[in-house]
């Protein structure tokens, strides 16, 4: 005799710590198995694209900082400045480009550390969170002494950076690199070899390569699914074309692969920072750009590799001091779309593990 069952509709969020912000998941369950997941987004929508049409190019730097992905403000500033510079044909000086690269990689590490900590918490490993915060605090200190801000820096300018690095900053940054490379093996001890962590992540939430491409996934999520693609390598910006670094790629496509990819990316970021610190030249840090810059008419698409993936800005200028239209191609938006594919067929307990592994920031998803 067949047991009569019916599907259960479960609401997770929007106010729930494990959804990493205000995200609602409508989960259809058959017993303990997930039949379907529909993410419901938009709770943090602030219409940044509309607001950017009413601000000058300089003011928009302050806006993209907090309006987009707040955990990687430098990456947002970078993509905005890059788009504007390309359209206005402004070249940032050499030193500024090195400083930007260092800052971007520090930001990548700090963003990945937050992810690592929260991913640990999602799976019940609380120590990793505290340790990740401890390491991140050092990066925050570095940011603070160079830019004055810890989370929102407003440091990049169109055609350079605002201020030069303070005295002794490069030494402190090098010290941090050594310190961080000492600490990284601890995470291996704590998480990578942890049988509980392995059981919760290995083979869970697999995203095949073809699906990842078709669904528009990018960044570590796509690289863990076997897509060897990194904007820093494919379309180098700043000084990435003269730096040696590897792009970690895994073919498993599960949560553990995404974890390993991000862990390796942090090592590569340190490698990039060390090379930059060795070769950073002296000189100008900012090209002469008017405060109310009028960008020539035209359209441009600038893409960068943010900690979450392929972050792009499609900028349309009509020759005014404010942009006519800005489209932000948010990486987390497309990555979150692939969530349904990853989750289908897994248990309800895996929802948190899979959601945590794709590293979403709701401010980036909703914009």
């Amino acid at each position: 005799m067949a047991l009569r069952t019916e599907e259960l509709l479960l609401n997770m969020g929007p106010q729930h710590p494990s959804t990493h912000g205000v995200l609602r998941l409508v989960v259809t369950l058959d017993g303990e198995n997930i039949v379907d997941v529909q993410p419901d987004i938009g709770y943090l929508h602030s219409s940044v694209e509309k607001m950017m049409e009413y601000r000058t190019y300089l003011q928009n730097i302050a806006l993209v900082d907090r309006g987009m992905d707040y955990l990687s403000a430098m990456a947002n500033e970078e993509v905005w400045c890059l788009a504007t510079e390309r359209l206005a044909k402004i070249e940032a000086p050499e030193r500024a480009r090195y400083i930007r690269t260092i800052m971007l990689e520090l930001q990548r590490i700090s963003s990945h550390l937050i992810w690592l900590g929260t991913f640990g918490i999602d799976l019940g490993a609380f120590t990793a969170f505290l340790w990740a915060m401890r390491e991140r605090e050092r990066i925050m200190d570095l940011f603070e002494s160079a830019t004055g801000g810890r989370l929102h820096h407003v440091y990049f300018r169109i055609g350079g950076v605002y201020e030069d690095l303070p005295d002794g900053w490069t030494d402190r940054c090098a010290t941090f690199c050594d310190y961080f490379m000492d600490r990284l093996p601890e995470y291996d001890e704590l998480l990578t070899g942890n049988p509980i962590f392995l059981a919760r992540t290995q083979g869970v939430g697999v995203l095949p390569t073809a699906k990842a491409i078709a669904m528009g996934a990018s960044g570590p999520v796509a690289r863990a699914s076997g897509l060897a693609y990194d904007v820093r390598r494919a379309h180098p910006y700043e000084v990435y074309d003269r730096l040696q670094f590897d792009i970690p790629v895994r073919t498993e496509g599960d949560c553990f692969a995404r974890y390993l990819v991000r862990l390796e990316e942090m090592r590569q970021s340190i490698r990039i920072i060390r090379q930059c610190l060795e070769t950073i030249p002296q000189g100008e840090i900012r090209a002469k750009v008017a405060v109310t810059l009028r960008v020539p008419k035209g359209e441009v698409y600038a893409r960068t590799e943010s900690p979450r993936g392929d972050l792009g800005i499609y900028l349309i200028s009509e020759g005014k001091d404010m942009p006519y239209r800005v489209k932000i191609r948010a990486p987390a938006f497309s990555n979150l779309y692939a969530l349904t594919e990853m989750m289908r067929g897994w248990k309800v307990a895996d929802v948190i593990a899979i959601l945590g592994s794709i590293d979403i920031v709701l401010s980036d998803v909703d914009r």
Partner: protein, 168 residues
Amino acid sequence: MNTSIQPNGKKSLAEQAWAGAVGLVVGLKATLRTMFERKVTVSYPVQKVNVSPRWHGLLALPIDQETDNDKCIICFQCERVCPDRCIHIEATGKAKDRLLTRFDIEMDKCCYCGLCVEVCPTEAIVFVPHYEASTYNRANLLYDLDDLHRAAPKEPLGTGVVKVRRTR
């Protein structure tokens, strides 16, 4: 249907238990090592950390010792560049005789971007390294000319005694 707990499905129960025990010991070893390291936290209201000189704290119009007045030349650049439009300036008189009658900053709107500090031609408006601007009343966050001259938070909350220097 997939099952989630199956990565070491081929192992026997004893092997799994052994792996779990090893993992526990390794993890505990790492945490134990950290236990004997120096503390990285401070007990905040009593101890405070110094912020960097570039810290984006409160805005101020510090008094210049020579002229006994602020350096503002009433050019309205900060008012214009502010993305949140939180600076309000009014002045009387013409040309050289202009007098500042109102310089209000709504600190509750301020996003601490520092663009006003950047565009100021005389470095009249600066950041001061205060970070305890929170108050119980939102009206306290409207800083007028006197408050900006004083360059201190209106309602200081913390009463810390020990300043901790950042060692790194």
